[in-house]
Symmetry: C3
Subunit: 474 residues, 3 copies
């Protein structure tokens, strides 16, 4: 039974009202709690006798900007592969991430940078907020095309909180190392989204099947996302690591790992196809698994060979996942994973966590020298053995999976609230549900214009436009 | 009465001739006046006993590169939203900005960096020239689709000079603070372009109405521009500010302001539509207003809350402007503003100037400590009170509006010179007037190729290509 | 005579097998030889008493990231101008460059950074490997559309080795200066590719002529490549130069040169066309020649005027090359140069080498002061006169041309190995040969959806989707 247009229109009002309410609430919380830290505040910075060159800004801001590109261009365009969902992919990424940046500045601030009643912000809080937005966008990838923007906003509201708590438990309570977020970002974001997608399972989604593929140019738009993610991933993993050798080594390891995942993805994509042809879905996604898999370990003494091996493995597992596991995930586990986040973030995230367990367990004073303090402070201070650190890392993975699963379940229930608008089974993957979308093809070309007299008489001189483009009419 | 093709072809010759003449002239002026500054000259740099790490390059070049992306990718693709004007949007942006960089290096150099008979250049002159190019591109946005490249070149010739003079009056004579250019760039560029568009008013522009909208993929290209502008705006505002806390705080404030303008744009866009659907024009443009509105004040102690509030307001005003004011601007004021620069740069620029008045007026020694010297040197040196600085800021806005209006008027007269070529009323928003433009659709897909013997016999083995793509033919 | 599908499918297997074999081989070589250098190794970095701010990472990583964007986004999308070859252009760029990064880390490492039995890696090896990948991609541009991925992989295997040897001869043995690679990258890559293309000459390539042009949106994708290359070229040339004034001056010179090549390209493109209209091929390519032509000399005291003049000349030569020389190259010299790399990299590369000869020959102690040590160490140490340096530079160009020609010839023979798969004459410039390529057009738009009751009854409420898009059907 169809509801009245009035009631439906009322439901559409929920998005702007939620936006305005949340923006008002975060603004008030910002007014009460958020302050410049000692490197952004004019008085505090000039209080000490600092050299301007020592400001954290110069060590982290270029990496921050690279991360920022990944979040907004990378995720946004990567998800624009669907033929009729580019506006939503890029637009909702923009919207969700903008909200998540504000909200996670507060949540992470309360948990990590709350001193004297205030949250202190600077370039590190900008990086951390972008990381949290990354996790939200990974979850978005699992439910892409099947949710409305008000639902997504509520998902972000919940996920940012749980992301912050999980990150706090791992990094602050358990002393787990996870600079590039194999666990806190990729594993958490993927399983949160997958469980949420399970709760929102649509048995009749095949009604929108015809819109679930790409078209030629939408695949090229998606490659913009892929390539920017790939290029800047070394900055992603190294953005929060310790200065000096820490950032340098992290970037280098990630760079090697990504080259290897790219080669294994091309190899496997050709191998598993009927006729040796490459599949854009694999190239767009699995080639990035090398960045995910070294998220935990790239700041460690992974060695360049270790980075290659890890990347190779991740690209292989991810490609095989797209080919063989995604169909099973839907048919057996009733998880409809639009972007295959299980293959790009889920499995490689878990592999990355396990690789972190391994590399942490192998840490020695000899290999790290005085740098051990930066990478494994608890081992350097004698509070933990390498084996104990490895066990804590492993426990961190289980904690993350638990938070993600419970959170995704709660999120699914939240998104089922009857007041929320979402597309029907036959309207999935369609921009026009939430956007004023123009048609696909431009006007046919006019004939090349004859030279004209500009000025008053031009219109009499103007010949009617003629269609002269047989290609597009064929 | 149509002119002869010969005379018209002659008019087309004007563009290359102007280009060659201007390039020759700037080259001669460069030869006579432009010299490396003490940080780019091999002998001068090594004369002093500098640490290489102290070279300004390392403090400003990453930000410069971000600004460079905004000017060429950001503006270029943002204006590519029109269905048949992508070549011109991206191409003329490229062309105009390249010219403006050279020309404004000279103009700004004469006004700001002329010592001992020479202009001294380095990374700061690169940033300043890019900023001037930004103002030219804002004006271009107002007349997009209705002008020829020779007209645009003359516009840039004039506008760069007036931009430089206005900037000199504000920054050097009045002691106004405007790091991110709410006044000098956005307000100036917008009103210059709007007045110019008024002078070039075309009463019969509806003859090109059918080309004035977007198509699906052109909107996605425009989003490339939007997102890169959004991402790098913190670098834009912070590129010229003082080192240390200055750049850090400016970037942080801009980042917050942009998140708020994004949320308010999504909220308002859904609110003002008939059925709750979002409008790409708003998302592509109004979401950026948060960067414009803190152009003046983001280097000041705006506070994170202040940044959110300013961004929220700017996104709201800008979206409402697109919805309600743009139609009035055309019907009542006879200003045809193709990209809505009044909504994105004009009103938010004025708001940003007023916000600067407010924040400057509230400046205290307590809030800025010893950092006051960097942000408000005249207050720190006791030459001015905060209130006096605020009054100077306000006066700077009026000066800018005056320079922009008079300049735009002069520009309009200049562009009406009868020797200049421009599209007729029915040829507006059409690439083919100035570009060799190919058709819109690729060839239909061939059937998947059968495996072939490479080598001499391949052609006998080759089956004719068959069309096998029912989707595109439907 | 057609071969059996089984034999053909076997040939398709070669790509994944080669990938896996090469990845295995480089991984083993990495395990044996590649080690972190003293700035990336935790123990080595903390052994010395360094300030973290002194880590090379902070001086070169932002430039490296810009170079990385140029290699993967710049080259990839620039070559996506063909209407049906975007997947291959972007995808094979991704694939080839990923392989080249690993392989050239080894080759360049053995030649330049082999100490104590190990190759030591850090941000400089990352930059150098990206540069080598650039040369491979230039060669790829000459044969774009006419080769299979296994052929390309073998080309890269050979070219990386010869690139490394040529670079070693020039920089280490001859003491040639070539920071931005006018010789080692552009001239080498271009003539390697052109000779290779000559060996693979296809007399019946006109069978694929209909696919050799662009379509409207493919030209816009190509402009993404162009603009990112243009923006970041200052970082490309300055990435490996000496710190301080060296990087600063190099970036500044490149920036000026590019503005001039852009203006001369627009001028010449309009001049040489029948009716004054601009040609996208020129704008996409020749406008970049200003970056190539100062590759050698931008670190020298070229002067801003010198940079403008060089850029102007390069843009002019390159545009005229596209217009007049490319057809001759095919008809007389039987070189089918898909992307016109002779015009963008070949001629401007040679011009750049000659400009380097000139500027080196003019070097004086007075002009460079104590900075002479950084730019021309052999002159500063009294081992060489400026004239002698100039002669060495000139000899370097001849060596490069010789290596490139012999290498390209060898490469051509290698790529003719009968076991390698390649497209037939009528299948060139077609993605579907190696990719699962979807159709070009999205589904027609449905009518705007009526508001719906979400939930169980939605499907009865759902109206059938109607086509309502008269524009695209006209």
């Amino acid at each position: 039974m169809a509801e009245s247009p009035r009631r439906a229109a009322g439901r559409r009002l929920l998005l702007p009202l939620l936006c305005l309410f949340f923006q008002g609430a975060t603004a008030i919380l910002f007014a009460v709690f958020v302050r410049y830290n000692h490197e952004t505040d004019a008085a505090l910075w000039h209080w000490g006798n600092h050299s301007n060159a020592a400001n954290e800004f110069y060590f982290r801001y270029p990496s921050f900007q690279d991360v920022h590109v990944m979040i907004f261009v990378g995720f946004g365009f990567l998800m624009a592969f669907l033929q009729r969902y580019g506006f939503s992919s890029v637009g909702f990424t923009f919207f969700l991430a903008a909200f998540a940046l504000q909200w996670s500045t507060l949540i992470q601030g309360f948990l990590h940078a709350f001193h004297g009643g205030h949250i202190h912000v600077g370039v590190e809080s900008m990086i951390n907020a972008d990381f949290c937005a990354g996790a939200v966008l990974i979850s978005f990838g699992a439910i892409l095309g099947k949710t409305g923007p008000a639902q997504l906003l509520l998902m972000a509201l919940l996920e940012v909180v749980l992301f912050g708590v999980n990150e706090f438990v791992l990094l602050s309570l358990l002393g787990v190392r996870d600079a590039g977020g194999s666990m806190t970002i990729h594993t958490f974001g993927a399983y949160f989204g997958l469980v949420l997608s399970r709760v929102l399972y649509r048995p009749r989604l095949e009604k929108s099947k015809h819109r679930q593929g790409s078209v030629y140019h939408s695949d090229l738009f998606a490659m913009i996302g892929t390539i920017f993610l790939w290029i800047f991933w070394p900055s992603f993993n190294s953005a929060p690591t310790s200065l000096g050798d820490g950032q340098h080594r992290t970037a280098l390891n990630t760079y090697y790992s990504l080259t290897a995942s790219t080669l294994s993805t091309f190899a496997l994509s050709a191998l598993v196809s009927r006729d040796g042809r490459l599949d854009m879905v694999h190239i767009q996604n699995a080639a990035l698994a090398g960045g995910v898999v070294v998220g935990t370990s790239s700041e460690m003494m992974l060695t360049p060979f270790g980075a290659l091996a890890a990347g190779f493995l991740a690209g292989t597992v991810s490609t095989l996942g797209y080919k063989f596991f995604t169909p099973i995930l839907e048919s057996k586990f009733k998880v409809q994973d639009t972007c295959g986040v299980h293959n790009l973030h889920g499995m490689p995230g878990i592999l990355g966590a396990l690789l972190g367990v391994l590399v942490a367990g192998l840490a020695t004073h000899e290999a790290y020298g005085d740098g051990l303090e930066n990478v494994f402070p608890l081992i350097a201070e004698g509070q933990r053995s390498a084996t104990s650190q490895a066990m804590h890392q492993l426990f961190g993975l289980f904690v993350t999976l638990m938070f993600a699963s419970v959170g995704g379940g709660l999120g699914g229930l939240l998104l089922k609230l009857p007041c929320l608008d979402y597309p029907s089974d036959s309207q999935c993957y369609e921009d026009q549900v939430y956007w004023e979308a123009p048609g696909a093809a431009p006007l046919p070309l006019p004939s090349p214009p004859a030279f004209q007299v500009p000025g008053e008489h031009e219109d009499t001189a103007q010949e009617p436009l003629r269609v002269e483009e047989p290609d597009t009419q064929a």
